[in-house]
Amino acid sequence: DTAVSQTPKYLVTQMGNDKSIKCEQNLGHDTMYWYKQDSKKFLKIMFSYNNKELIINETVPNRFSPKSPDKAHLNLHINSLELGDSAVYFCASSPLTSGGTDTQYFGPGTRLTVL
């Protein structure tokens, strides 16, 4: 069984469009994350949700809006896509532990290409 899943795996779209990426975890974790990996493989946190509440919001354009309908799902909606948004987006989840010692488990990634 897939622990952290993302759809779609590949997403090709035109500049200016709006698109969503979905993430689901079946691990029973309380915290979920979105990361962006650029073309140089640099990986950076975008958002973190704990029990449907936003707890980390790094410097990300407000065109990006995460939505967590329940603690097993964290979707990423992107408005007015730009060329620079092309990247691989990873969802991750971790159990609720105090102090930040928890291990994060990553999904397979969504490769977004903006033309």
Binding site: F42, L43, I45, I56, F90, G100, F106
Partner: protein
Amino acid sequence: AQSVAQPEDQVNVAEGNPLTVKCTYSVSGNPYLFWYVQYPNRGLQFLLKYITGDNLVKGSYGFEAEFNKSQTSFHLKKPSALVSDSALYFCAVRDSRGNTPLVFGKGTRLSVIA
């Protein structure tokens, strides 16, 4: 602010030889340190972590890492490399102080040659 450095973009090693992938960190409080591996077109897989206790941490696939507080390092090691170990390796750190995110290094590409 916390940071992590992986000084080598690429490490080449012959199959059967020991391998080391280097990582140094900077945090205000105590560090929580992690190693992840990424195979081509895949997500990151957790290898091991150091939280507290024994400085030598053993993880998946025969990997281990040694926490060295004086050198602020957490190098990843394996006694005998396999071709299948070829992948991109990420070191990550989280500061024990406050609700801080996990910060990743830029990654080191390991190539094991048969």
